[in-house]
Structure formats: structure tokens, C-alpha cells
């Protein structure tokens, strides 16, 4: 699909949360367009320690072709239901892996690319780092860099019901509610409470990884060894490594959409010991040097701009 023009609209706010709209004109000679909408919905208040958001991502109009999106490490886990056409994943391990229709993913340490085509219709839940363990008693370390079919984790009948309901539903708010209802139905009656690992991991998220783990330890009343072990089992990474990854996620968010960046300021503000540590971390998590990343990255965030007057708002 040759994209002659790209019109971008975006973040608005509805009662559930934020959304982004990305819209392309297929070419300047025809009126056919592909519209892609990415929406985020906030969870119920009591689920905030566990759920970052629900998301919906769909296209309409002309089919999408050869659409590639890059995703850097975010520090979150997710549950994904694809009601659209198949798409493929490329990462350090797989050259081209077809994503399962419904899956749970643990921490992604390295950047990966999605290759999408046809009709996009994806919904999902973005989980806080320790939530899979707290909510479902899953050993999250086993899920690091993995996409596990949802039916390996939950009853097939529940998964089929969710997939069917999402595919049939046309109202975005209702879809978000379906995701939340599914989530609540999967833990057995007892209202979950965040434990010290949830709180420590969420603190690292809130502080964008700019946190001294020794300081975190003071509030958890555990030995370092025990804390590290529990954290690893629940989050999938050690606390220090997770903080390093989260800090990189923050930096990638800061530079998203930019072609020129003051690296010295960034590595200083993000408390890197020196430039070589910054470059080492950057290369480890993205697979490229900072400059290469700026020149080549194709994150979804790059396709989204601030709203302009007259843009559509929902």
C-alpha cells in the first residue's frame, strides 16, 4: 500500500481513558483511506495496582498492508485477543512467528516488531509487572520473552467466550468492560490485594526505573536475597535489571517521534554513571545504538501526534 499522505489526529479523552487515532489517505488520487484507532481505558479503581489499562486497536476502511510497528520493552505484561487478521512477530529469537490468536505475554526484554496486514482488530489488558502472579498465581519468570496461548492458562470455554464476545461487540466501552469482566471472573472470589512485591514493582514503574533498590528494600522488610528471589518469580526479572529496563522504556518514550535528541542531557537526567553505561543499556534493550535507533525506529508512538484544533474527539 503506497501511502501518499498521512493525516494524524489524536489523543482525546472519554470517561474511560485516552485514545489515539491514526488515519492514512491511501493515495492522493483516490478517496479510500485506512483509519486506525488505538484506545486505552482505565480499569476500575480497585484494579489499578494490577492493571495499567485495557486497550483496543482496530482498523477500518481500506485493508492495511505491510504495516510494521516496533515495540520496545515497556515493563508490562499483557493479555491479547486478536479478532482480526493474523499478524507476525519478529524478535531476537524469531525471524517470523505467527502470534497466537489469544495469548498472555510476560516481560519483553528486547525490542520486537509486529508485521500486520488486512484487518486489525486487537484488544487486550496491560498488566502491572507483578499482576500475573498476584491475580492468577502464575510463575511470571516462565513467561519472560514468551507468548503463551491463553488456553494454556485459562479454561478454553472462557477464552472462547471472551474471543467470541469481543469479535461480536461493536461498542468500544463494552469491549473494555468485557475484558474487565473476564479478568475478574478468573480469580476465585477473593478480592486481590497487592503485596510487597506488587508495591515495589509498581514503585519502579512510577519512578521510571530511577530508583535505588537499596531504598526499596528498606520498605519491604525482607532480606535482599529473599526479595530478589520473590521479585524474580513474580515479575520475571531481578529488581535491578527490571529498573534498568524500565528506565530505558522511559527514555524511549521521551525520544519517541523525535529525530534530534540531546543525549548528554538524557543520560544525565536519567542518572547514568557515564555515557558508556548509557550506550550499553540502550544497545542491550533495543539492539541498536542511540543514533541508529533515532534513524530507524518505527514505534506506534511515532505515528501519533498531539491533538490539533478541529480534530475528531470522542
Amino acid at each position: 500500500m503506497g501511502l501518499a499522505t498521512r493525516h494524524i489526529s489524536a489523543p482525546g479523552l472519554d470517561k474511560a481513558g485516552t485514545f489515539h487515532l491514526v488515519r492514512w489517505a491511501k493515495n492522493s488520487l483516490t478517496s479510500t483511506i485506512t483509519v486506525m484507532v488505538y484506545q486505552k481505558f482505565k480499569p476500575a479503581e480497585w484494579l489499578i495496582p494490577f492493571v495499567e489499562c485495557y486497550f483496543l486497536w482496530h482498523s477500518s476502511g481500506e485493508s492495511v498492508a505491510d504495516f510494521i510497528v516496533e515495540s520496545p520493552p515497556t515493563g508490562y505484561c499483557s493479555l491479547v485477543v486478536n479478532s482480526g487478521d493474523e499478524y507476525f512477530l519478529q524478535n531476537k529469537k524469531y525471524e517470523r512467528l505467527e502470534a497466537p490468536k489469544q495469548f498472555i505475554s510476560g516481560q519483553s526484554i528486547y525490542s520486537y516488531r509486529l508485521f500486520l496486514g488486512g484487518r486489525i482488530n486487537i484488544a487486550g489488558i496491560v498488566f502491572k509487572p507483578a499482576a500475573l502472579a498476584t491475580l492468577f498465581n502464575l510463575p511470571t519468570y516462565q513467561y519472560t520473552e514468551e507468548r503463551i496461548p491463553l488456553k494454556n492458562v485459562f479454561k478454553a470455554v472462557s477464552v472462547d467466550a471472551l474471543a467470541h464476545s469481543l469479535a461480536a461487540c461493536t461498542d468500544e466501552n463494552e469491549k473494555a468492560k468485557l475484558l474487565e469482566a473476564f479478568l475478574i471472573s478468573q480469580f476465585s472470589g477473593k478480592k486481590p490485594e497487592p503485596d510487597v512485591i506488587d508495591k515495589a514493582a509498581n514503585l519502579i514503574v512510577e519512578k521510571n526505573g530511577l530508583v535505588d533498590i537499596t531504598e526499596v528494600l528498606k520498605d519491604v522488610y525482607m532480606s535482599r536475597r529473599n526479595f530478589e528471589r520473590c521479585f524474580f518469580k513474580k515479575v520475571g526479572l531481578s529488581p535491578k535489571y527490571y529498573a534498568r529496563m524500565r528506565r530505558m522504556s522511559y527514555i524511549l518514550n521521551l525520544i519517541a517521534g523525535k529525530k534530534k535528541v540531546d543525549w548528554a542531557t538524557i543520560f544525565s537526567e536519567c542518572e547514568f554513571y557515564d555515557h558508556s553505561h548509557f550506550t550499553k543499556d540502550f544497545t542491550e534493550f533495543t539492539g541498536r545504538t542511540p543514533q541508529q535507533y533515532l534513524e530507524q525506529n518505527i514505534e506506534l508512538a511515532n505515528l501519533i501526534e498531539k491533538p490539533r484544533e478541529g480534530d475528531i474527539r470522542y
Partner: protein, 146 residues
């Protein structure tokens, strides 16, 4: 179905490797060895040919010696990632303070803190049958004063 079984297997192979690193953290060499095929191979790569042997022989000796020479040896498992159907890559930070000479490095009472990569291969009996260990030996020696 085959893909599902493969993914289940991938999940379970990580258990052995994580348990191995936790046993190492507890300085429990017997437990470490119980997770392995004693005839399996180990390669401490920076040591070259001298670092090649069987898990039950060379592996046991080196880990026992390390614990003896660095009694407070400890590790932090940063991440465990399945590389293929039978292989897991563990990123580990190992640290300790020297109290005895070790592998040609005289004891100066200094400490090290070193990134290590362990590559584990798991056999069909779910035992570790190959371990490859990589670290920056020059930096390790430098930290210990050599």
C-alpha cells in the same frame, strides 16, 4: 497441538535452570548437581581448554572451589530466556570476597561483582546436560587485584 506442547516444554525447562541458580546462591553443590546429568558437559569458556569437562567432575570441582575461596559468594539472576526448545540463557550477576587463592589468582582479600551468562541445555529427561559459562575474566581478575 504440537506447538502447545512445545511451549509447555519451554516453560518447564526454565524451572531447572532457575533452580540451579538458586541452589548456587545457597552454595548447595549437591542440589546443583542433582539437577544435572553428571556425564553432561560444562565449559567455563574464559578458561579455554582447561575449562572443559564433565558437570560431575570439573563442574563439581570448580563450584566447590569457588565456594571455598569466596565463602560469601552470591548471585542475582537477572533474567532467564528460552533460546530454543531445549536451551535457556540465564543472565546472572555473581559477587563474592576472596579468602583463598583461586585458579592462579592470589588472595588479596578483594571482592568481585561480575556479569555472567549461563547457557543451559536440557535433555529429554529434563536434566541439564550441558552448561556453558561466560564472563569477562580480565575484569574479574582486575577486581581481585591481579
Amino acid at each position: 497441538m504440537e506447538i502447545l506442547q512445545l511451549q509447555q516444554q519451554k516453560l518447564s525447562i526454565k524451572n531447572q535452570c532457575v533452580e540451579f541458580m538458586f541452589a548456587y546462591q545457597q552454595k548447595n553443590v549437591s542440589k546443583m548437581l542433582s539437577l544435572c546429568d553428571p556425564e553432561g558437559t560444562v565449559h567455563f569458556r574464559p578458561l579455554g581448554e582447561a575449562g572443559k569437562g564433565t558437570i560431575g567432575d570439573l563442574g563439581k570441582n570448580i563450584w566447590t572451589m569457588l565456594i571455598d575461596c569466596f565463602p560469601n559468594i552470591d548471585n542475582t539472576l537477572d533474567a532467564a530466556v528460552a533460546e530454543d526448545d531445549n536451551t535457556v540463557r540465564c543472565q546472572v550477576v555473581i559477587r563474592g570476597t576472596q579468602v583463598k587463592d583461586f585458579a592462579g589468582i592470589p588472595n588479596k582479600g578483594m571482592s568481585f561483582d561480575s556479569d555472567h551468562i549461563f547457557i543451559f541445555h536440557i535433555n529429554t529427561s529434563n536434566l541439564i546436560d550441558s552448561i556453558s559459562v561466560e564472563w569477562n575474566h580480565a575484569d574479574f581478575s582486575r577486581q581481585l587485584g591481579s
